[in-house]
Amino acid sequence: MSSTPPEPPAPGSVSLGQPSLVDGEWHRLHPATPLLRGGIALIVILGIVVGNLRDTLIQLVVGGGERGPEDPLSLIYERGLTGIVLAAIALGLIAFIVGFYFSWRMHSFRITAELVEVRSGIFYRTNRKGRLDRIQGINIARPFFARLFGAAKLEVNVAGQDANVQLAYLSSANADALRKEILRLASGTQAAASPTPVAAGGLVDRRVAELLAPELDPDAAPPASVVNLHLGRLIGSLVLSGFTIFLLVLVVGTVVIISVTHELFFLVTFAAPIIGMGSYYFRKFTKSLRYSIAGTPDGVRVGFGLLSTSNETLPPGRIHSVQVSQPLLWRPAGWWEIRVNLASKSSNNGAASQANTSILPVGNLADVKKVLELVLPGLVDERSIDLIERGLTSRGGDDGFVNSPRRAWIIRWFSWRRNGFAIEPDAVLLRSGAVWRSLVIVPQARMQSVAMHQGPLLRRLGLASIIVHTVAGPIQPRLGAVDRDAAIGFFTDVSAAAVLSSARDTSHRWRSGEGRSNGEVTA
């Protein structure tokens, strides 16, 4: 945090020849911002106060009934303080409104070719800058209430905890255009900006159009999501989740206990999980509704949410590892889930508290291939796709993976045939689990370091474990019970490959090669 005096707009800033939010000048946020950020709480408090005093108010107006001497309203009324109290309330309201107004006035942002900067605060000034080439993703969240006002929250994610630059709130149409512009600046492309489309029609029409619009703006993405999440599959995936098994065990346990003890008291233990269950399923369900994923020139775009929506663009090279996994119950249906590790922590799990690390909640093998194609552009040739498919479904054996030796069965009872790794030119694949199948793919350019471990038990068996370190997330890429010599080979090869790949990597300015020669590239 640093406090700076408000400064005049920088002279000589970049102008794109059209009114745009990325002209390097200071801009203000949506006028409804204070209301959306804090004002709703005020209205709720007022509502509660009025609700509690309702009876007294009715009595005051209609008369009759009996008023207790301790009732604050009647005390005020009887002592003739009504005027003073009303004045105090009015003063408080005015103070609030003035405060809101000034907090809105003082809250401004600007976007230059190098950075995005936000300053805010009346007494405590805050100034936050994020470098564009460090962007990990841009998230546009539209909480339901904000959507009614046609407002959206734009969040520029950079690596680290609480390191995001938030522009809350912008007008909904602006947010989409702004994201496109920021990504264009960040990508390092020299191509000119394409004009921003302006929504036509009256205010109400626009609002309705925005509410109903799919979570993709047609201008910057291919028209359709590459994966369609059927409602039936979504419900099925929830019903067949591990949580359901836990619930069934609980129900059976409770029934047994009650039938043995004849004490209905034990129903109480059952009540809390039931309530929890409802909210768990509801959250999982609503967050995955209207799921969409599509590739854009500036990375993968993932959208979620029914009433509150969230829509995140991840530029190329921002995905640090990918895990495709299949719980046992999903196997008959052939469903998979894809999760990713990201360097940024989006502070707004806004759309129904979604974790933004699940990039495909549920999908079949074809869906998995389409999504992997988007998130791992380095692995799209025939051979790699084949390898990935074997990594998912193969039972093991000589299939392109270096698997655990037979002696590893002591610590990998079912999965020793399948437990293995493969090294591709761009990525490392770690396959494990016969019951809970999982395949972890780590792009070599994103690896932080490589390690191998060996404890006394593994040493007796001539085995070792290998670990690839990436940024923190739900995935920990590691493989146990690998043959000792294979592990040493993996360590040697991958540590050399990681150096080479990271030296070649240019994804911090992912389109820097474009647009210089041919000048015009459609954004």
């Binding site: 994103r446 932080q448 370091s449 370190h469 940024v471 150096v499």
Partner: protein, 162 residues
């Protein structure tokens, strides 16, 4: 045949100062005394004889660890390769890590009270992954600073994104 992990072609490990054994032993003794005292509270207050087994077991484990300390310290090694830092430690539980210089986010130098009395420093190489955990203890203070400057220069010349 040895089933230990060894890297082929890597023989010249740079070792840490033998004086680090003292730092390690002092640290172990303190935690041994604290944990034995904590577990001894139960038998003292309850007067149940067999509860003394707990502090006794802990004491034995600490004695074995203490006896192995010189070898464990000798097992710590590091090497500056062309493009990455190689680090190893551990006897029973061996651990090898290779970190490309370009992945460095920062280098820390820490000095505990005992280490400072012996003129030793601990160098910590931090990447974006918390699990990398490359901490080289027991470096003479001058060496540690020299190594830090060298690592920073190497990282600067091989800068990579995240």
């Amino acid at each position: 045949m040895s089933e230990k992990l060894e890297l082929p072609g890597v023989t010249e490990w740079r070792r840490v100062s033998p004086k680090y054994v003292v730092v390690d032993i002092v640290g172990l003794l303190i935690s041994a005394v604290v944990s034995c005292a904590a577990t001894a509270i139960l038998p003292i207050t309850t007067q149940v004889a067999w509860l003394w087994a707990l502090p006794a077991i802990i004491a034995v484990i600490f004695l074995i660890t203490l006896a192995l300390t010189p070898r464990r310290v000798r097992s710590i090694g590091y090497q500056l390769r062309d493009d990455d830092l190689l680090f190893r430690r551990g006897l029973m539980f061996q651990r090898f890590v290779a970190v490309p210089y370009g992945r460095m986010q920062l280098v820390d130098i820490n000095r505990g009270p005992v280490a400072r009395a012996l003129g030793l420093s601990e160098l910590k190489f931090v990447t974006a992954a918390a699990a990398s955990g490359v901490t080289i203890p027991g470096l003479p203070a001058a060496d540690a600073e020299e190594l830090r400057d060298k690592l920073v220069a190497l990282a600067e010349s091989r800068r990579a994104g995240l």
